[in-house]
């Protein structure tokens, strides 16, 4: 080998190295272009796809909970039992929403009181922290929403049209609940005679869970409210002058004949499933639109309409042939002898009852905005 130690670089090497350096500089200058494109594309389509996915999760799915009890019936201090939200009545009824789930999701009346991060986790937003606004308007009602105000700029959007499943109602005129010909004789020397009897409504799971009725129109006291409306009481009781007062002394719920107590409502933790209503059991009586406190007497002699709302609970029907009985203990105070017509007796709450107003569907629209 010829030894060249003059310290001079050969021309060929210089040319090669220069070309290499020039190419390297060109390559490096291309680098900033990579990240610009990747970022902007995923941001835009990511927002829209997140909004679409959230719309599907809310409108077409009924939600998941950890313990088999519907997510909206979890105790408010255990939000970790909710795995995923969903507003649909069931998986087989997409776009048909359950009002109980809607109330719990939009926190109206306040129940879970979740933070925005908990909403994001239970709606599967992913790691990217996104602001959201989910709003819902049912025909004839106010708009419900959670989240921040929608910005004027770009946001991902998804709009779902839905129907809200109304509750089933048993609308009974008071005359049809009466039994005629009760003879009352005042005891000797007494001013009045208090006659007690019971009026009850029986919900039979075998009848209500009729599989030939589609889930969109089925009455399910385990997951939705049930209404009983007795109208025209004053025309029956009030018209009889011999009755000085008529009250419902107490309301009892009987599950297969056994009274339901406070212990039944606990799922092993303190507080009942519907503890937004302070006392148990979870029902509400309204006389002429005014709620009566649970546990007190309900005077009904001059009432026009008595409305009874039974709130859902997953433990109501443990067996396929269970019966739930709503028992009103009635007390009539009579001041004269005679033949009276009292409200009493058993009435079935089922699809074949002539008084049943089955669940109907109301229009609504659900909008999801993500930014």
């Amino acid at each position: 080998m010829i030894k060249d130690d003059s310290g001079l670089i050969s021309l060929d090497f210089i040319v090669g190295f220069t070309v290499f350096l020039a190419a390297f500089i060109v390559v490096i200058s291309m680098l900033p272009g990579v990240y610009v494109n990747i970022q902007s594309s995923s941001a835009d389509s990511g927002r829209d796809m997140t909004a679409y996915r959230t719309g599907v999760i809310l409108a077409e799915d009924s939600g998941i909970s950890l313990n088999g009890i519907p997510w909206e019936q979890q105790p408010p201090m255990r939000p970790e039992n909710i795995v995923r939200f969903g507003l649909a009545v069931s998986k087989e009824t997409p776009n048909i929403l359950s009002p109980e789930k809607t109330e719990r999701f939009f926190n109206v009346p306040a129940y879970f009181n979740l933070t925005a991060d908990e909403y994001r986790g239970k709606l599967m937003f992913g790691e990217r922290p996104r602001s959201f606004n989910i709003s819902f308007k049912e025909d004839g009602k106010e708009t419900l929403y959670i989240g921040d105000r929608v910005p004027d700029g770009m946001y991902g959007f998804s709009k779902r049209y839905v129907k809200v499943k109304g509750a089933g109602r048993l609308v009974v005129p008071a005359e049809n609940l009466t039994r005629d010909g009760v003879n009352i004789k005042l005891p000797e020397g007494a001013d009045e005679y208090i006659c007690g009897n019971t009026t009850s409504f029986i919900l039979s799971y075998a009848n209500l869970s009729d599989r030939s009725v589609p889930p969109a129109y089925r009455i399910d006291p385990k997951t939705e409210r049930a209404f009983i409306v007795i109208g025209g009481i004053n025309t029956v009781l009030g018209a009889q002058d011999g009755i000085s007062s008529a009250v419902i002394g107490s309301v009892e719920l009987l599950k297969d004949g056994d009274p339901i107590t406070a212990a039944d409502y606990d799922y092993g933790v303190k507080g009942s499933a519907y503890s937004s209503y302070p006392s148990y059991p979870p029902y509400i009586c309204k006389v002429d639109g005014v709620p009566v406190e649970n546990g007190t007497e309900i005077p009904i002699k001059d009432a026009d309409v008595l409305e009874f709302v039974l709130f859902p609970n997953a433990m109501y029907f443990p067996n396929p042939d269970s019966k739930l009985e709503i028992l009103f203990e009635m007390r009539y105070t009579c001041i004269t002898d005679g033949e009276y017509r009292f409200i009493q007796g058993e009435t079935d709450y089922g699809y074949d009852s002539p008084y049943l107003v089955p669940p109907h569907l109301t229009d609504g629209v659900l909008e999801v905005c993500i930014w």
Binding site: I2, D12, F20, Y52, Y145, F157, Y161
Partner: protein
Amino acid sequence: MVNGVRNEISAGVSAGIPAYDRECGQLFAMEGLIAAAIMITAAYLALGTVIPHTNADMHVSEMQLKQIGDDILYMMDLPDGNGGKGYLESVVYNASPNRGPVANSQACAAFNATFMNYLRMSTGATINLDTLRYSAAIYCVDDSGEVIRLPFANFGDNPCRNPSVCCARYVAAEDWGLIGQSSSDTVVRLEVMIWRD
């Protein structure tokens, strides 16, 4: 000076030195050139292919329109109560050609009112621009097995050919028959093209 020395050396010894010695510097140059070509080609191809991913946007708008259209038709087809008939069924019943032109135009007007009402429904959380327009048609099967298109209601024209989506729903048609043909209980397909004005 350097060149002169080298040339002198190479000229002086070229006779007695093998050929590879004279070409050993060319390898550096070739190496450099080839390395440069490799880098530029690979970098250009690899980095250049990332850019086209941004075309997701134009399909999102169509997806949203299709979702809206499918939802509205589904809502109109849901019966209000168990065993009832959906609103679309009564509209299609009146739109049957053997019902007469008066009933047909009534059906068009009823469908138009309901459909536009749905398109304009909003929760109020965002500004809802009333820009959605539609054009509907009913497809049915006639006696000979052909698929016939009957124009139905529409709101707005699409002369500039804005991108539109097609949403469809099968509707049970009671006592449906074309003019001059037999009527029967059958199924028709109501198709709605929706676009943004």
